[in-house]
Amino acid sequence: MPVAASAIYFLNLRGDVLINRLYRDDVGGNMVDAFRLHILQTKELGTCPVRQIGGCSFFYMRISNVYIVIVVSSNANVACAFKFVVEAVNLFKSYFGGAFDEDAIRNNFVLIYELLDEIMDFGYPQNLSPEMLKLYITQEGVRSPFSSKPTDRPVPNATLQVTGAVGWRREGLVYKKNEVFLDIVESVNLLMSSKGSVLRCDVTGKILMKCFLTGMPDLKLGLNDKIGLEKESEIKSRPTKSGKTIELDDVTFHQCVNLTRFNSEKTVSFVPPDGEFELMKYRITEGVNLPFRVLPTIKELGRTRMEVNVKVKSVFGAKMFALGVVIKVPVPKQTAKTSVQVTSGRAKYNASMDCLMWKIRKFPGQTESTLSAEVELISTIAEKKSWTRPPIQMEFQVPMFTASGLRVRFLKVWEKSGYNTVEWVRYITKAGSYEIRC
């Protein structure tokens, strides 16, 4: 029985209550105080997101400058509770348009109460789909889909939709120009040893879509992933074109995707929700193309001097380039003076983060760039303590590049009225946690 919450609180960083909503009576009213006293104002904060105080369990997560706290007294379903919070925040964001922070909450607290009332009843999550909720809870907050007053937009069969029978798409949508935007966003996670061997590497990707389509269209997406291609070649009884096929370790889909058809026919077919949504997520561990190689050498010369050399190579296509490259090269806390030379971009010592921050706005493919620095340290009496070197961390974005090699082969839109659509596809690879030990 997955009760997700007995009460939900939104607190600011000081612990002031912004929103409180009690769903069940099995937790007392002074739960916020317990949370403030035992978690927020202690060193416990951040050590574990699930804590038990008295007979109650607290799940909390921080989102920008707000803590969201769920309190339960029974053996609740934690994963469900956290997912609920995340989904609820997404819902709020889609209402406020972007930011979710203390100010947004203060400015919209009535709306949030309205939503909290709808999305959970007596501790059981109800309908959280923004599409449906927006039909009857609006920013202006006056509309009822059932009211007899004329509204500017006809809402056919709203009752059915409110309770989620067709969940994600409204009927009767009309667009002058039918467009689909598809973004493949990948983030590369890397952990490399100081000797240059890859300890751990994977890519988590997601396919984001924005659909502005008339009616109830059926979409079909073809990727160059292994299972899909094999299936296709089987059907057409000819070998697939030579080219890389990608093996996806694991895929998850938006609820609109027909999973039965995916499993039997290996095609991603779906009736998309209106507007923006995340179509699928995947993970890849084999055959990852790392966009950057980093070769660090750090020498400690005596007690007060260090020599740092970092070479960064871009290994993606020469016609492409990376944007917003940031390389954080760690230096000891007692750094006194640095002199840094770089072959491109800018680098300087950042005292608050104890690192040399090297920024390169645009980094073309198949090139390399180096940083060489001399670091002088304050000499300390406690000379014995050696410096533990944190890893070099890197941030970047490479447009039109996918670390997995995944490509969209086709995107077909079919609707009974047979209109033409324009499809836009973009690729981008970002750094997830890209760490190189030194």
Partner: protein, 817 residues
Amino acid sequence: MAPPAQSQRSPSPSQPSGKGEVSDLKMQLRQLAGSRAPGTDDSKRDLFKKVISYMTIGIDVSSVFSEMVMCSATSDIVLKKMCYLYVGNYAKYNPDLALLTINFLQRDCKDEDPMIRGLALRSLGSLRVPNLVEYLVGPLGAGLKDGNSYVRMVAAVGVLKLYHISVSTCLDADFPALLKHLMLNDPDSQVVANCLSALQEIWGVEASSSEEAAREREALISKPIIYYLLNRIKEFSEWAQCTVLELVSKYAPPDSNEIFDIMNLLEDRLQHANGAVVLATIKLFLQLTLSMTDVHQQVYERIKAPLLTLVSSGSPEQSYAVLSHLHLLVMRAPMLFASDYKHLYCQYNEPFYVKKLKLEMLTAVANESNTYEIVTELCEYAANVDIPIARESIRAVGKIALEQYDVNAIVDRLLQFLEMEKDYVTAETLVLVKDLLRKYPQWSHDCIAVIGNISSNNVQEPKAKAALIWMLGEYAQDMQDAPYALEGLIDDWEDETSPEVRLHLLTAVMKCFFRRPPETQKALGSALAAGLADMHQDVHDRALFYYRLLQHNISVANSVVNPPKQAVSVFADTQSSEIKDRIFDEFNSLSVVYQKPCYMFTDKEHQGPFAFSEELGNLAIGVDDQRVEANDEDLLLSTTRKEDSLSQQTQGALLVSLDHTEPAATHAQQTNSVIDDIFGLGLSSSPTPTPSPLLKLNAKAVLDPTTFQQKWRQLPVSTLQEGFLTSQGVAAMTTPDALVRHMQLHYIHCIASGGQAPNFKLFFFAQKADEPSNFLVECIINLSTSKAQIKIKVEDESASQAFAALFQAALSKFGMA
């Protein structure tokens, strides 16, 4: 809208508590109450917002209750919602005022707009005032039959709310039956899901007191209902799917084809974007295949990828929740995850709670082939800036070393840690080296060489200090300056705050004395003197004990302090396997995160009077707690403990089961009877048992609780029947013990029992005389109806009938003797 809560942020000195503002509000509301002028709604809205925001930040605005109610006559939905929220919050503490709202809520429940009907019904249920429930019954009944699914959806949960306010009102109105009807027939999936949630909760509680409810609860997991829900699974919202999957995981399909059908149907759920659905599916798969070892293993392989994806996506909090589950699975079957160890490497920026779980998993999956990589990785963490993580990593390295893979290399690494010369690293390493030496005395040479160089001044933590002192005493002959190091420590006796260290110091000096008497004599003298003057009872006692021992006979003292040491080979397991199995059964809940079964952390009062259905697990709690403590103290079982457990094993399983029963204080009485039974004392006056012509049972059958629980879980129910107790039987049944003794005469042994009159629950087992085939029985006795519900599970199906008859016969004779 101006954020009114701002006023609280910088309260003006004249209105510190907002009291003035509240009375202002009251005035303004009153003025608006009767007004029908245009624009009234807008000003009302602003005022309502203020009220709600005060309410949120904790200012008591209950004084404007009547004004709020007066203003609530409006057609504006938002105003209504705010008013409902306000009323729901304060009604409980102002029941008299709440009566005022009933009228308009009831009227709204009949509104032509389904939205308003639904909202009003929801608020009506949220009033939580016991003496107003009579007003709730009518609207709820109407709501359940409403033509609009939104209203029905709200009404279904409303029934559950009513149940929590007043059980009898809810049951008298026969709402559960209505819910059931709705669940099976409503076209709207959310209505179905809400009915299901409500019914599960209601019947779950009711089952303990009403047989009908118990039957209904069982019926929920019957084939037709399960299939009905499964066939519609895709219509449900993601959250409702979790509810359904959770229910299905309790269903036990009669044959393997059905299991495969269900798994095939639900396999795509593992690809769902909602992690909660994926976890619920995983639970279902694991539960379904428990009895099919090979398929179970395949399930592990299948769920690995989705789990790892969930771990690496989403916020750290979400991945923590998932990691806890992965942790549980890894601990159950480390070999299956051995090749995935790289997924468990920590990232630099991950929070502590994630890293800690990962470290534990890395430790668990280490085997011959990956130890080198894992230990190398762990050594990286040991140099981490984050001290707790560094400590955890060193402990992990130690644990792997104790597991015997490639000890040689690991010892070298541990010794390297000591060379890092960081206080906390040294401290952790010392403790580990001590444990290693106890298990592998052959390494003493290498270790001692390094340990000897450590100055005790650099070691501050009591545990580490104690470890160092232990080694100084134990290896006094190998360490040149051991006596002098000890002497130095004894000189600082007064400054030593930890009694643990002082105790170790006493023992170490004694050991050292017998190995190098001339050098230690002085130190021993001052240690004993200091010990005798010590304020701590244990330290004082130990010093006195040593002193007298030495006085009495030196060689005896030597053999007491310096007995020949055996290498320690047994590890204390943190948790008994019963506990682990229970946690596994509660997959996808808090139990997994806390790593303990739910009865250990949910409140007693939530368990209700029928909590003893948890009996088997309970028996193990005491034991477990002790072990956990012991484990905190020390990684290794002390030698004496080990010997204890060895002797227990040799003496047979019955003693073990005794050991399990003992700690539960409430079972003291029962324990006595068990002891009687073990030694056969209770049997002396007993008549010869009636032998069954068909089936002979083993009089001295043994079965430990773990095996019992395992078997109970695995086996299907072979016989389900109702037995009757004679009136004498009812009279004799003052405690479960009476029946336990009686059944013992028939060679049916009790393994656990509990409960209070009139409800008792007992678990029995029996074995065939000629072969090791077990019969397991769960027997629930209700004295008020003199009925006994008997559930029998057998290993040998052919003997099932005979045993059932025998059990029935034995039971019916209870109280006749």
